[in-house]
Amino acid sequence: MKKLKTTLAALMIMSSSTIFADGHQLKVGMITTLSGGGSGLGIDVRDGFMLAVKGNENISVIIKDDQRKPDIAVQLADKMIQSDKVDVLTGIIWSNLAMAVVPAAVNQGKFYLSPNAGPSKLAGKGCHENYFNVAWQNDNLHEAAGGYANSAGFKNSFILAPNYPAGKDALTGYKRFFKGKLAGEIYTKLGQKDYAAEIAQIRASGADSVFFFLPGGMGIGFMKQFSQSGINVPVVGPAFSFDQGILKAVGDAALGVKNTSQWSKDIDNPANKKFVSDFQSEYGRLPSLYASQGYDTGKLLISAMINAKVDDKDKFRDELRKANFASTRGKFSFDKNHHPIQDIYVREVIKEGKTLTNKIVSVGLKDHSNVYVSECKM
């Protein structure tokens, strides 16, 4: 028994990834979701990020799993800041976890680069000089969906999203741009997978289009059931329910659906081509938008390290602000509140051979920023 305990202790010491070779100039702490429901997103962000920093001798990365739980994320962040002494934090997928971790971390003088979550609070009143969002502000893709709905001539949309802060942001974002009227507006239960009741309401409402924000498994269920319902109305939504990881599970039910995204595999620039082919050869699967966000986060970090040391916080921050890197999205810059100004595309789900994937059909919103810039005092 004693022997077992010693072995276990030794194993635990070995597996805690705090051993570094010397010479690293910058330590990154990545907190992301790697187990349980929703882990596909975290794994993609991690893989994208690690691909970007691969072979870079100056960066060391500690990766920890937050299990999608805010309390665990907070503990991990504390440990990384206090005992691992990281310089930069990144990785969080979910807005509620970001709200629990980011404010404390940036107030302790750490940089936080968000590869996904972009809650409105951190873009507006709660913005911070050390917080950068490399993905989008939460409302962005939904605003583009609203814009697309106008151009497609939709007059009467039925909209639905889960009953939680990001869901409310989503419907607000869509309504901010959509000029038609609403045939119905529903908040579903978070985590709900069966939409028979909602689909019956859509059928009865006489809507000419449906907008939905149902990330992860929720969207898979909705799309399958909607296509089986025989309701012949166009559907539009943000890319979260149509990313590469999920399309396979939705199957042909997703074919032809328009969705909005700041990234797509077919954006034509050298950085993106390299990213897509490198990602495929490294991991043996097509990248998703989450992977592209992780990758851009890594590239942004490297770009800032060229001219500044992370210890010189002001200089490092200025370098980050320049966003002087070749983004997979092409044109990319930060607005005053450190959130991206970028094009948001409208994509369509198509079949390439046997693989379901997306292709760009138009630019939904050009050089789009967010409405919270004016609230940010920085």
């Binding site: 349980g36 429901g37 882990s39 028979a196 009865a204 898979i220 319902s229 599970a249």
Partner: protein, 305 residues
């Protein structure tokens, strides 16, 4: 609100209920016969769905996949019962909860390790795709009707099994007096394994049937598990009849509540507020129902006090 929409939603509620019944029947049997609180029941739901997705991916046949979900979950049930669960019957409920909770984590991460973190594809067969008119006015999904039908068939099957067969007699005897039945020469440990496997198989089947219209992913069983516990508490722990009535009650209350509460609140509220408050109360409704039933009947509708 029209009567057509109402009937359609009622059917949706019943369909939800029958699926809950498949989950809660096993849960209540296992608790009734062995006195075991099995938190890992949701994992069999997941195992069934993954087995189905695997077989459907290889053979392309939905029906073989359904069979695979039954067998896969039952085999997993037998193995887990013999290796782990068997040691827990004599322990108190806290130990059982801890051990079966650990099983959830092990099984979830095991499945994720083997199948990966991305949801799998499982779809319904073409013969059940689309809709069918009922009384010429109501357009209803064929597949959901199929789920309702399967649920009722299994309910009848379970009723016959419990009331008419030797195994059923033993199960009932086990529920009444565990020690006496083993003193009478019944191989109690075999009976336990069979009951556990039966419960696991039902959960697996429901996982596959629901996975086909929702998503097959790690952690899919836990939200259903919570509802299944609500059902067996409402119906009375150990009672199959209670599980059936409880399931339909929970299914219908939940569906009708979240659809019609916002409309109802719109009569005396702003539409935006009514939507937000209505959907919040809608998702609480089954717990309110549970509280009300427990106040009037503390041991559930069909439970023995």
């Amino acid at each position: 609100m029209t009567s057509i929409l109402f009937i359609e939603q009622l059917l949706n509620g019943i369909q939800f209920g029958t699926m809950l019944f498949l989950m809660s029947a096993g849960l209540t049997l296992i608790f009734g016969v062995m006195g075991l609180i099995n938190l890992a029941h949701g994992s069999f739901y997941m195992i069934g769905a993954f087995c189905a997705a695997l077989v459907a991916g290889i053979t392309g046949s939905f029906w073989l996949a359904l069979g695979a979900s039954l067998c896969g979950a039952a085999i997993a049930g037998v193995l887990i019962e013999i290796l782990i669960i068997r040691r827990l019957y004599r322990r108190d409920h806290l130990d059982q909860v801890l051990a079966t909770f650990a099983l959830i984590l092990l099984l979830s991460e095991g499945v994720r390790w083997y199948f990966g973190a991305f949801p799998l594809y499982l779809s319904i067969p073409d013969s059940l795709n689309g809709t069918v008119p009922i009384f010429s006015e109501i357009i209803y999904s064929k597949y959901r009707l199929f789920i309702i039908l399967m649920g009722f068939l299994i309910a009848v099957g379970l009723y016959l099994l419990i009331t008419k067969t030797r195994l059923g007699i033993r199960i009932r005897a086990g529920q009444n007096d565990r020690e006496m039945i083993s003193a009478l020469g019944v191989d109690i440990s075999k009976l336990y394994t069979v009951v556990f496997a039966l419960g696991a198989a039902l959960a697996g089947l429901s996982g596959a049937m629901i996975g086909a219209i929702q998503s097959v992913e790690v952690g899919m069983g836990e939200p259903i598990l919570i509802l299944a516990f609500v059902v067996i508490v409402i119906g009375g722990i150990g009672s199959i009849k209670g599980a059936f009535v409880g399931s339909i009650l929970v299914g219908v209350t939940d569906t009708l509540g979240r659809v019609f509460l916002p409309d109802l609140l719109k009569i005396f509220m702003q539409p935006a507020e009514a939507t937000a408050i209505g959907s919040s109360i809608g998702s609480m409704l089954i717990y309110i129902l549970m509280a009300l039933i427990l106040i009037t009947k503390p041991s559930g509708l069909f439970g023995k006090s």
